[in-house]
């Protein structure tokens, strides 16, 4: 029996050959690591050969140990060499076609309407406004009566309102939350109410049967029209930028008086007139006004003591103006190509 024919030594040679082949064939660092575990690992065959060294005849033992160590070393060296080959290399970069596309991850995104709403809420939160919420299925009392809207008013018309039954509607605006908040709290009140509202409008480029609204309400002693105007100016500057002007126009809402519509410079044409602004240079962004004393009376506030202002905005329309989106339906269709543009 010669030493070279020792089964243990044979096994070591075989393992070394296999290992070197596997290392050479490893296509990436993962595969290389797998072969490392397989051949050099704690529970790998080389380790178990070393473990069974005691079963070899004593004269063979140092040879086996030496051979095993040599194999280990050879494998480790090959491993390092292959690793260097597989690792991204600076020196080879010159030969890489840098115009090939890079690898990406999916980009998630917040809906453009949500972005607008978050920004609006954020700007008003600097002025002390907190966020409030109310039900979308609403009683006629809160949706109309508490807001000084008579039920024979065109706004309460069956044609425009989703009635669920007598006295229950899908709220036609977020304004009912005004009354709910005032009933639940004593002044000072400063809230914004982001939420959905419903109107019987067919789904077309300019309308949706349900749409987002942001309501705002501020009630305190000494809140006057001038302060209201200053708050809206602050908002317009913060949201649209300092170059955008705003103006207040007389308007009518049953729950505010004086009532005003707020226009801002058309951002598409910078005020010179274009189809977006119907050639007026202005785009209307909110309805607003001083809270009508009748509303205060409805919720048990003394209208001689408390004054306040309220406003309502349509974030969908603002998003359309801001991003130049021509058709409102795009906002609600969840086309990933569309949503991805705002991610």
């Amino acid at each position: 029996m010669t030493l070279s024919s020792s089964p243990l030594l044979e096994r070591i040679k075989e393992l070394e050959r296999e290992g070197l082949a596997a290392i050479k064939e490893a296509v990436d660092l993962d595969a290389l690591e797998q072969s490392r575990v397989r051949f050099l690992g704690r529970r790998g065959p080389l380790a178990s050969v070393m473990g069974s060294i005691s079963s070899a005849p004593p004269p063979e033992r140092p040879l086996v140990g030496k051979a095993a160590n040599a194999a280990k070393k050879a494998l480790a060296e090959a491993m390092e060499a292959r690793k260097a080959e597989l690792a991204p290399k600076r020196r080879r970069l010159a030969s890489v076609d840098g115009t090939l596309p890079g690898r990406k991850l999916w980009a998630g995104g917040i809906h453009p309407i949500t972005q607008v709403m978050d920004e609006i809420c954020g700007i008003f939160s600097e002025l002390g406004f907190t966020r409030a919420r109310g039900p979308e299925v609403e009683s006629v009392h809160y949706n109309f009566t508490a807001l000084n809207i008579p039920l024979d008013h065109p706004a309460a018309d069956m044609m425009d309102t989703f009635y669920l039954e007598d006295g229950v509607v899908l709220r036609t605006h977020t304004s009912p939350v005004q009354a709910r908040v005032m009933e639940a709290h004593k002044p000072p009140i400063r809230v914004v109410v982001p939420g959905l509202a419903y109107r019987r409008d067919s789904f077309d480029p300019g309308h949706a049967p349900c749409f987002e609204q942001i309501e705002g309400l501020a009630v305190d002693e000494g809140v006057d029209f001038v302060e209201f105007r200053a708050a809206i100016h602050h908002f317009v500057n913060a949201f649209f930028g300092p170059s955008v002007e705003c103006r207040f126009r007389p308007s009518f809402y049953p729950f505010t008086e004086p009532s005003a519509e707020v226009d801002v410079t058309c951002t598409v044409c910078a005020g010179s007139g274009c189809p977006t602004c119907k050639r007026t240079g202005w785009v209307t962004i909110m309805g607003s006004g001083m809270v009508d004393p009748a509303v205060f009376e409805q919720v048990g506030y003394d209208p001689e003591r408390w004054t306040g202002y309220a406003f309502g905005m349509g974030p969908a329309r603002i998003a359309m103006v801001r991003h130049g989106i021509p058709d409102m339906r795009l906002l609600y269709e969840a086309d990933v190509e569309f949503l991805g543009q705002f991610a």
Partner: protein, 825 residues
Amino acid sequence: MNISYGWVRELAGAGGGSGARSDLPAWLLRAEEAAARITKIAASVEKSETVGVGLEGVVVARVLEVGPHPQADRLSLCQVDRGNGEPVQVVCGAPVIVQGGAYAHVAPGNRLPSGFEIGSRKIRGVVSHGMLCSEAELELGRDRGGIMRLGDDAEPGVPVADYLGLPDTLMVLDLNPNRIDLACHMGVARELAPDGKHLNLRPSGGPEWTPRWCDGESEAEGAGVRVEVKDPSRCVRYLAAVVRGVVVGPSPGWLAGRLLAAGLTPINNVVDATNYVLMERGQPLHAFDLACLRGGGVGVRPAREGEELTTLDGQTRRLTGRSSVIHDARGAVALAGVMGGHDSEVTAGTSDILIECAHFPPLAVRETARETGLATDASYRFERGIDATAQGDALRRCVELILATAGGKADPEALRAGAPPPAPFQIPLRIKRVNQVLGFGLDEPAVAAALDPIGLTTSTDAPGVLDVSVPGWRGDIEREIDLVEEVARRVGFDKPAEKVSRFRPSAVPDDPSFARMDRVRQLFVGRGLLEARSLTFVPGDFRGSRADLAVPNPLSAEEGYLRPAIVPVLLRRLEHNYRRGHRAVRLFEIGTVFGVGTGEGREKYTEEIRVGFALTGGRFPRHWLRTLRDFDIWDLKGIAVEAAERLCGGSVRSLAGDCDEDRRGADEFGASWLEWPGFGMYRDDELVGMAGLVRTEAVKEPAWAGLVIAGEFRLDAVRPSSAPRYEPLPSFPATRRDISLAVPRNVDAAAVEATMSAASPRLLCQAELFDLYSEVSEGDALRGLSWSLEFRAPDRTLTDAEVDVEMGKIAHALEEGLNVAVRGS
């Protein structure tokens, strides 16, 4: 609302003639300034356009002779006088050309407003020198199927534009619903005039008429006719006058021009007079051909069921009791406050007329207009509430205009049936209150100066209080706050005043659901999902997902219900994306879902905010180095676990769907789309959401679609904030050992992990499954699972021997407790 700027200017005192003033504000000198002023203080001017441009070559021509065209029956041949004594021959296609009548003529070499050049040309062998024009050809409004007839006051040779007082600017106003007083020229003039209480009314040019009034509460008789008003809810007050012997013909130029500039088409002098008064002062009137009223009188009553009436537009309408009509002895002759009847219309042959000037209440007119589907100039104003005191003056004005333009003789008696007009009233206005609401710092004279010019006459009562008398045309002003608004408007919303927006506290806490939503968005957006916002309307049965809350008056059957769950809606959005060719779709939505419970009224309806998500297609964007791998059930579990653990502080359990409890859970979340087994999301042992693979039947998918994974959970399960406590980072390194196990089929991975943790409670700090072989020896009975275990002590580096001891304890516990064997040892 259409307004002629020229008309308003004249009323406000800037017109020609005696009424002109010298102290005029800028907005009475230029139309653009006027539009800006009206927008700022009263109503938006949506657009302005010039009426009567390009009429340079159009002059008045009188028809001297009219005869048939020798070669064509349908054409006529006219000789017209253009004021220079030389008759001009014109061929004309209109059926009725009146000899002696005045028309608008364009001579050869001139152009129409459209730019079309007129020449002399042969028409069927006869030369026509220019043409006589219709309203449309002159761009003066709608064509009425003929040539535009001018008034008998038109002098041949005068440019038609001069004759009609054009060009003028027509402004389109978008009125606020409370400001119906602005739906007439006097109303707008009051806002613009230096002194709106004294407007410069154009004299009618005819005799004055001061009638003797025949009054009656429910009926009045006089002037040979009778008027009956029994139901105040159908008609508040009905005034009538009779003019006999009128000659119906074209209106004079100044009146026709005014109507054209206000966007109306002149019809004849009687109808034009009623329209003129409507546009001047906002009071609708109607003229009946008295000969066509049977029984010598009119009344107001509900229409009879099935009663028919042919209205002025030529349509025959079947009515019900919801509509109100004017009737004579035999039947309905007009829709009260909406439109006159065809059979009693004033025509060329009319001689005696009855002029109605009534006050119909808003609700009655709204009902009539709605039932007949009509919206007219009259109904628009009645529905919004007209000046309750204006009927007498309006009727007088109309009769005088008719006498001036159509001749005839007005009966000295006039009728007045119904309630008398309301008495004027005063509202006290506190200056302190004005400043409390506005913050403008106005004094008493400034407030009075804002109100007086528009007819809100003020007088001082007590110190600091103005008594404001409210004119009839301001029916919208009832309270002190209404006057405050008037002050704000008139002073200008932009009145300078120093104040910065400032922080004020709110007694209302931030609703936690918004913070919850923010956290949800952060998680999902971070994982590459796009936020969707869908309409909340769904069909009643959307592929197995049943909605309970029906909308009684939906826009369509497809939108007949409110969504009971989010995922079915997202699946529909997914299909939309498939149709657009998108294979990789990752959506989430936060929205309200609805149901019907028990209770009364609003309490019966339940609503809850849910978070839904749905993903399909490639886990990563396609890249040239790697083939696309799709989302699968393990991605779903990963997302569900993250949502449950990180957002809710809860956990996820695998649900087989083989017990009622599992199925009830799926039901609660509308998860009829779920392919069992699914995953339940739990917080404090309460099921708060469901997630799983979407059954293929639940989505209409193209052949190239991948697996769809989805889930839905309650927003209120999400913790509004997460402020995790810091855990000290380890000071000593960990020791890693791999362990490969042969696990019987009936033992799940969680049980193995639990057993390992229990066996080494202090030192085993992490167990990470890294491999699973399904086929281990002994057929299908065993699975091979490998974990990588990390051992660590907080106070020292563990020795190999210590770890060996822990490994031994773990192997023993697995063997004993679960019959799990360690492989390769």
